[in-house]
């Protein structure tokens, strides 16, 4: 076995026989992790489905309290951020570290925009008392138990928001590591995996948006 620079790069962990095996393992591990994420949200989607089936009219009335313009803006913002992170991965595959940093930075900025818009939406609802469960004190939504709608809304968008924040942390960390020159076309697993995670976060929002903002 050759122990040259080529055969045993620094980033290759001792228990893998080659770079390909390490990369494939990371990828499979990430996909399995994403499955657990879907199941985690799955519980909440079941919660949503059951109560919407029980209180269809209330869900319709309550969804009018959400701001479709803000929701639509946020959807566009997140989809754009998925594009920028994909371009970031493409750039590192082509060894253009500088471009990668810019694309990651753009993704971070878009994620931040999403959270700021979310913040204004939340503050508005907290102000009006459109809150989950016992905290609900708003008059003006007809139907049974409108607080259930806001329980679902805050739980699901809240858990999604936490995932966006975690993603922002990861992207910041990637920017620093790319700057330090840790990644190249030979090794960019962390960027690729964060990209997969980010697409999932995006995808979950794509389901949340119509389920809450666009009830027919």
């Amino acid at each position: 076995m050759s122990h040259s620079q080529e055969g045993h790069p620094k980033f290759l962990q001792h228990h893998f026989s080659d770079v390909e095996q390490q990369r494939e393992s990371a990828k499979l591990g990430m996909w399995v992790f994403l499955v657990t994420e879907i199941l985690l949200f799955g519980g909440l989607f079941v919660f949503y489905a059951i109560y919407r089936a029980w209180y269809p009219d209330m869900f319709h009335n309550a969804h009018l309290a959400l701001d479709v313009a803000m929701g639509t803006t946020n959807t566009i913002v997140l989809i754009t951020s998925s594009v920028t992170i994909a371009l970031g991965i493409r750039s590192i595959q082509l060894d253009r570290q500088k471009d990668t940093i810019w694309y990651l930075f753009a993704t971070l900025l878009l994620a931040g925009t999403f959270m700021v818009i979310k913040y204004f939406e939340y503050m508005h609802k907290i102000h009006l008392g459109q809150l989950p469960g016992e905290w609900y004190h708003f008059d003006g939504i007809e139907g049974n138990n409108p607080h259930v709608f806001f329980s679902a809304y805050f739980l699901m968008t809240g858990l999604h928001g936490i995932h966006v924040l975690i993603g922002m942390g990861l992207i910041t960390w990637l920017i620093f590591r790319t700057k330090a020159g840790h990644f190249s076309s030979k090794y960019y697993t962390h960027i690729e995996m964060t990209g997969l995670y980010w697409h999932l976060v995006d995808l979950i929002w794509i389901f949340l948006f119509p389920l809450f903002y666009l009830i027919g």
């Binding site: 026989s17 393992s25 657990t36 519980g43 919660f47 469960g133």
Partner: protein
């Protein structure tokens, strides 16, 4: 005469810090061994105290509130801190990578992290214990769990955190089995232990997140009253049960599949015969994993789900019996005309076959809708799941622990004491729990502190049985700890077995293999290859 090799994974690095920062799968297995066994001891003490209290029909030395907290803690500790991590995290971590010829699991640091997460989760459970305990039962059913004044949040948070530990172990095993098999180690040359661990890992990864979100909902409901499980606010307490059992039914297969995985290894290695129906045993593990996801409603026959749903769940439940039956028949067929050595692991294997068959068959009774209406929430249920969980999983775990003990430490335990202890546990277990089948069928409800006088002889006999079992466990603790210091060196292959872990030194070297092994024969080719036991040389 066998010798312990000069350097091995236990002494390659020294100091407590080298243990706390280790990424070696074998050392992580040992870390799990000590922490999990500690909680087995705690949970076992609760069990003994409960049985002692039940010796008489009236209050003996603890009041009813304490009794409620004690059975909750016994259940929660045994399930979340002992039986779920026991086999995958201890024995799986230790032998799975070696069995497939790998140097480690795919993500060693994640593996260490899972142990730390386990410890953090355990601390929350301990906090609940010292701050007044919880009295909901390990199932945390609403609405009681959202209204009782005991420390529910900390123990639920503990279970939530422990879930991540379980998910990470499962994720690690899935990737390890897919990507790190050595040359020649095809799927159908993998030892059946690996197949069982793989099926377990699938359930861990697919079911545990749902428990996670359920427990989060329970905590939020309790903290700020979102009303999701509260009928007064338009919610539904039965929804909690659906969520809970969607995880917790598959979870009982997270507990039993690893037990079955061990038995497949033990039965061939100690009868020196090729497994009967390798593929059937391998696929039946996946079959059980699949069936586990579609039967959760059989826990809720009396909870107010629709009659149609109850009938469908009852029907589907019978499917679980098919792959389980396939396994039992294949194991028995493996024994036929083999050369059985009555070593301690084999005695545990035979105990497993008896006890698991009883546990499994009574499960069929309970899956039948009309019978379950009668037996629901009686001691019959208690006896059934102890036959599966203790008679099945714990017995298999102990068998596996004895089987791989010489590999872990390089030393043999005392075989005579091992056999005596196995016998004590087998007899004590049946005394304790078979009695409970009888009183359950006569109507003794579970979780009752006080009971009518008619059940007294049964309860008393059951309590005597728990003492016999305890004697067996204490004897085992004595000779296992003794063997660490005074045991005879075991040699590489004390059982004459053919899987990869027996071809390396005991204890194994730090990185398992000098060179990655090439798998040329199947794991159970006892008809073609004779591996001599290194014990004979002693």
């Amino acid at each position: 005469m066998n010798k312990i090799p000069e350097t091995h994974y236990l002494n390659a690095k020294k100091g407590i810090w080298s243990w706390l920062t280790t990424v070696d799968h074998k050392r992580i297995g040992i870390l799990y061994l000590f922490s999990v066994m500690f909680f087995f001891f705690v949970g076992g003490m609760f069990a003994l105290m409960l049985r002692l209290e039940l010796l008489t029909p009236t209050e003996m030395y603890i009041d009813s509130d304490t009794y409620n907290q004690m059975f909750t803690l016994h259940g929660a500790i045994m399930i979340f801190l002992f039986i779920i991590p026991a086999i995958p995290a201890i024995l799986g971590n230790f032998v799975l990578p070696i069995m497939i010829g790998a140097k480690d699991v795919a993500f060693p640091r994640l593996n260490l992290l899972s142990w730390y997460i386990y410890i953090v989760g355990a601390l929350f459970a301990v906090f609940s214990l010292v701050s007044g305990g919880a009295d909901t039962g390990w199932t945390f059913y609403t609405p009681y769990s959202t209204t009782t004044s005991t420390a529910v949040i900390s123990i639920v948070l503990g279970a939530f955190i422990l879930g991540f530990s379980s998910i990470f172990t499962g994720l690690n095993f899935i990737v390890t089995v897919h990507k790190l098999r050595s040359p020649g180690m095809t799927w159908f040359k993998m030892p059946l232990f690996v197949w069982g661990m793989y099926a377990t890992a699938l359930i861990q990864v697919l079911a545990t997140p749902v428990l996670g979100i359920t427990l989060v909902l329970l905590i939020i409901e309790r903290l700020i009253g979102i009303g999701i499980f509260d009928p007064a606010m338009g919610g539904d307490p039965v929804l909690f049960q659906h969520f809970f059992w969607f995880y917790s039914h598959p979870a009982v297969y997270i507990m039993i599949l690893p037990g079955m995985a061990i038995i497949s290894e033990l039965i061939t290695a100690h009868s020196h015969k090729k497994i009967f129906g390798y593929k059937a045993v391998a696929y039946s593990s996946l079959g059980i994993a699949f069936a586990s996801f579609i039967v959760w409603g059989h826990h809720m026959f009396t909870s107010g789900q629709s009659e149609l749903a109850a009938m469908i769940f009852s029907f589907l439940t019978f499917f679980v019996a098919i792959p389980s039956g396939v396994k039992v028949f294949n194991w028995v067929a493996t024994l036929y005309k083999s050369s059985i050595s009555f070593s301690t692991p084999m005695l545990y294997t035979l105990s497993f076959l008896f006890l698991f068959s009883i546990g499994g068959l009574t499960g069929i009774f309970l899956g039948a809708l009309p019978v379950d209406i009668h037996l629901h929430d009686t001691y019959f249920i208690v006896a059934h799941f102890h036959y599966v969980m203790v008679g099945g999983t714990v017995i298999a775990f102990l068998g596996g622990l004895h089987h791989w003990w010489p590999k872990m430490w390089g030393r043999m335990y005392n075989e005579t004491l091992g056999k005596i202890s196995c016998l004590l546990i087998f007899v004590g277990f049946n005394m304790t729990f078979f009695t409970q089948f009888i009183m359950g069928s006569q109507g003794m409800p579970r979780r009752y502190h006080l009971y009518v006088d008619a059940y007294r002889p049964f309860h008393a006999f059951s309590t005597y049985g728990s003492w016999v079992m305890a004697a067996g466990f204490f004897l085992m603790a004595y000779y296992l700890i003794h063997s660490l210091f005074k045991g005879k060196p075991a040699g590489n292959n004390p059982w004459g077995a053919l899987t990869h872990e027996w071809s390396i030194t005991s204890p194994p070297p730090e990185h398992n293999f000098e060179e990655i092994p090439i798998t040329e024969h199947g794991p159970y080719d006892y008809d073609k290859i004779v591996a001599k036991s290194t014990l004979v040389e002693n």
